[in-house]
């Protein structure tokens, strides 16, 4: 993986050339979504190679933490895997005098995983809501009772909040659950627990120990912008103002072909592939 990352960055560097080296610079601080953390770190590395005067510091913690740092004026960009909440807007206005600007940079499928030993292949959105609110669901074909241990991300994560609002319709998650911080830990727990179910904002290929579920009969991972897969959300950059200066420069790089390629390579859906 590291080898792949280095190759990507070097390719990027070669594609964009040395001629655009400039003396301008600055520090760009980014906090927020763990889901996008790896992609943004790779994009930041490519950006810094092309623009040696700039330092991009990428931190995670989840969307809520990213929002708090933006509100405190400690971050230039919050990466968010859910839209800003009304209470956060109010705080942003009170502390920074801004409603916040959202820039969409990618689309992301929320993938539901079970252990690969599980016989379940697919589920409907309404069954998903029942399982994640702690109810026992009977599988229509086999009559098997689906009762899972929920592997949840921290409440600070955008995936946690987005799923609760959009799928659970604001109901609480079921009590039979284990909370972990990172997306990788969700997968580790599903591998270790046969009867567990969890969410990830990333389509994982090549892991034989987990199984992504079809939702409403549609498989995730097609990475098509107009796919019928029902659990699709936007990834946002939140800033205080319309992007300008160093932030715009970085955003332009994210939206450029090399930037969007990294996003795609990490399992997300590029928004601006075709012109």
């Amino acid at each position: 993986m590291i080898k792949y990352l280095v190759i990507s960055i070097v390719t990027l560097f070669l594609m964009t050339g040395c001629s655009s080296f400039t003396r301008e610079g600055g520090i760009i601080t980014i906090r927020g979504s763990e889901t996008m953390n790896k992609s943004i770190k790779m994009i930041a590395a490519g950006f810094m190679l092309q623009n040696p005067g700039y330092s991009v510091i990428v931190g995670g913690g989840g969307t809520s933490v990213g929002m708090k740092t933006l509100i405190r004026g400690e971050a230039d960009i919050c990466i968010a895997s859910r839209p800003i909440e009304p209470g956060e807007i109010k705080e942003l206005v009170n502390k920074q005098g801004s409603l916040g600007i959202s820039t969409i940079i990618a689309k992301d499928e929320i993938v539901v995983y079970v252990n690969s030993s599980d016989t379940l292949d697919g589920i409907s959105l309404s069954e998903l809501k029942q399982i994640f609110t702690g109810k026992v669901v009977e599988e229509s074909e086999s009559g098997r009772k689906l009762e899972y241990k929920l592997i949840l991300r921290s409440p600070n994560s955008g995936t946690y909040s987005y799923f609760r609002k959009h799928i659970l319709e604001n109901e609480e998650y079921g009590k039979n659950s284990l909370t972990v911080n990172s997306p990788n830990e969700v997968i580790e727990q599903i591998v270790e627990n046969n009867n567990s179910i969890g969410l990830s904002g990333e389509m994982i290929y090549g892991n034989q120990l987990i199984k992504p579920l079809l939702i409403n009969g549609v498989a995730p991972g097609k990475r098509e912008i107009n796919s019928d897969y029902p659990l699709v959300r936007y990834i946002h950059f939140y800033t205080l103002d319309l992007p300008e200066g160093k932030i715009k420069k970085f955003l332009d790089f994210v939206n450029s072909e090399p930037g969007q390629k990294i996003i795609e390579q990490n399992g997300f859906i590029s928004l601006w592939g075709e012109d």
């Binding site: 839209p83 969409i104 604001n170 939206n255």
Partner: protein
């Protein structure tokens, strides 16, 4: 060699010379014919109303570029014809649910009871939240006015009435003119800044406080909503059919008629409502790239640029009216594009005598909220500080040759003074006692440029005609505004006086040539709220 072959070869040999040396007259009968030809293509049904991001818009792009090439007008040096604009669009589906629970439960229906605006595909209120009535939904410290003073709307849905406090005093909410506070966007932003989940607006008919025609509102909001990929945080935004608004006031002791009376009697107040609301939106969305088209008549001896703009998009395809679903947008703004193509052709022939550069900019997504021009000012092709002024062409005389003209500069700059000087010199009459109506000014692409600190304006036909009786001329203008504008009938079947359009092109061309000789550049006025942007451009460069 027969005659026709000879003619073919002679023509072939002369072609390059023809392109660059033939003098075309702007404003004569041939000019009118060219404008007719441009509009016949751009407003044809085959372009399906040139909706933003549609195939019809792409065909229009190609037509514009082909014509520019044929006249020897290139893109800005080293750049593409296209400025790519990343956009996001959404359409609300009929199976969306807006439910109101008070004494009884009400399931409101999209379009017949409400329309959605200024929201987003991720807008969702999955469980019931509380509501409050917040008057006009305005907090305006400069007018000592606050509809939110006595209510806390955090986490609540806010119900407001359209408009703003009425006054004849120009120093209070701009008097009878609509101020920025009457815009839906302003009401939504103010509500969001208070922590509200969104805003539902009850439309009212001006000062009378009566209900507006719902069909008109429904028609205006039937199209896909489109936004730039970078946009202000959004919440839930809707306009409610006044006939359905009573569900919000059930059990409150206040009726919708009481609200109208409050408006009429200047007694608008805010209060909590017993109703609760949820919204389960269903959307289809798309992300796509649209284009501004930029061409240049360059002069390497100066960095100063004059910018001429016309938007080439229109509404696209919508709900049929009398069997016609194509909103062709002939006047709005195929005719403006045709006039700009004509002016560009006139300017390129005078290139060697021009003192300044001219940027010819065809803008996209104007109908979706001036998005093409907003994107341009955030991503300028020419440094903003080098942009002397902008003349926007959107509204070309088509009924009769104008006997007078209206200069719409919103009082932001001294452009009117320049045009007055030009008009005086050329015997052109301007409307007298013309008021700068801000809501008229903010509805065109020129507004985006003013907001960026660049003097910008629009010239339109005035109150007086040359040939038609005044009464008939005035009535025809009114008829267009009320019945044709933004309808499928703004198409090639209507009467267009192409000679008037050609005459207009000539006047604008002469004005550009007049400005080309001016040593000083137009300036923003100190009184303009965007004067600071004008200064900022000059300080940072």
């Amino acid at each position: 060699m027969n005659f026709s072959i000879k003619l073919f070869f002679t023509g072939f040999l002369l072609l390059p010379l023809t392109v660059f040396t033939q003098t075309i007259k702007i404003g004569d009968g041939d000019s009118a014919d060219r404008i007719f030809k441009h509009t016949s293509v751009l407003a044809a049904d085959s372009l399906f109303g040139r909706g933003t991001g549609s195939r019809g818009e792409k065909i229009a792009e190609k037509y514009i570029i082909d014509y520019l090439i044929s006249k020897g007008i290139p893109p800005v040096s080293g750049k593409s014809w296209f400025q790519s604009i990343p956009l996001q669009g959404y359409t609300v589906l009929d199976n969306s649910e807006l439910n109101v629970a008070s004494i009884s439960e009400h399931k409101l229906k999209l379009n017949s009871d409400y329309v959605i605006t200024n929201s987003g595909t991720e807008t969702l209120i999955p469980s019931y939240i509380e509501t409050a009535f917040a008057g006009y939904g305005i907090t305006a410290p400069e007018y000592d006015y606050d509809d939110y003073f006595e209510i806390d709307v955090e986490g609540k849905m806010v119900i407001v009435i359209d408009g703003e406090p009425y006054s004849t005093d120009k120093s209070y909410f701009l008097g009878e003119e609509a101020s920025v506070y009457s815009l839906i966007e302003s009401k939504l932003r103010i509500a969001l800044s208070k922590g509200a989940a969104g805003v539902i607006i009850i439309p009212v008919e001006g000062r009378s406080g009566g209900a507006v025609e719902w069909d008109k509102i429904k028609s205006d909001y039937q199209f896909e909503e489109i936004y730039l990929s970078s946009r202000m945080s959004s919440g839930f935004g809707a306009i409610i059919n006044p006939a359905s608004a009573k569900v919000f006031f059930e059990g409150s002791g206040v009726s919708v008629d009481d609200i109208y009376s409050m408006v009429f009697e200047n007694k608008v107040r805010s209060f909590y409502l017993p109703a609760k609301i949820e919204f389960k939106g269903k959307f289809i969305s798309r992300e796509f790239i649209s284009h501004n088209i930029a061409a240049a008549i360059e002069n390497l001896n100066t960095e100063e640029w004059v910018i001429l703009t016309a938007h080439f998009d229109h509404l696209g395809v919508g709900k049929p009216v009398k069997g016609d679903s194509i909103y062709n947008g002939l006047n709005d703004n195929a005719l403006g594009v045709a006039v700009l193509l004509e002016i560009a052709a006139g300017l390129v022939e005078r290139k060697s005598s021009l003192n300044k550069n001219v940027l010819i900019l065809f803008l996209s997504a104007e109908e979706k909220g001036l998005l093409g021009s907003k994107y341009y000012t955030s991503n300028p092709i020419i440094p903003l500080v080098n942009s002397s002024f902008v003349l926007n062409i959107d509204g070309v005389p088509f009924i009769d040759e104008p006997g007078s003209f209206e200069v719409i500069d919103g009082d932001h700059s001294d452009l009117r003074a320049y045009f007055e000087k030009f008009a005086k010199k050329n015997g052109i009459k301007l409307d007298e006692n013309e008021e700068q109506i801000s809501h008229k000014f903010i509805r065109g692409d020129h507004y985006s440029f003013v907001q960026a600190g660049i003097p910008s304006f629009l010239i339109q036909e005035g109150r007086l005609p040359v040939n038609k009786p005044l009464e008939e001329y005035t009535w025809l203008k009114y008829f267009y505004t009320s019945n044709i504008y933004h309808s499928p009938f703004d198409d090639l079947h209507q009467f267009i006086n192409y000679d008037a359009a050609a005459g207009f092109a000539k006047i604008l061309l002469n004005f550009i040539l007049f400005m080309d000789k001016e040593v000083d550049s137009p300036k923003m006025k100190r009184e303009s709220p965007y004067y600071s942007e004008y200064l900022k451009l000059r300080r940072t460069n």
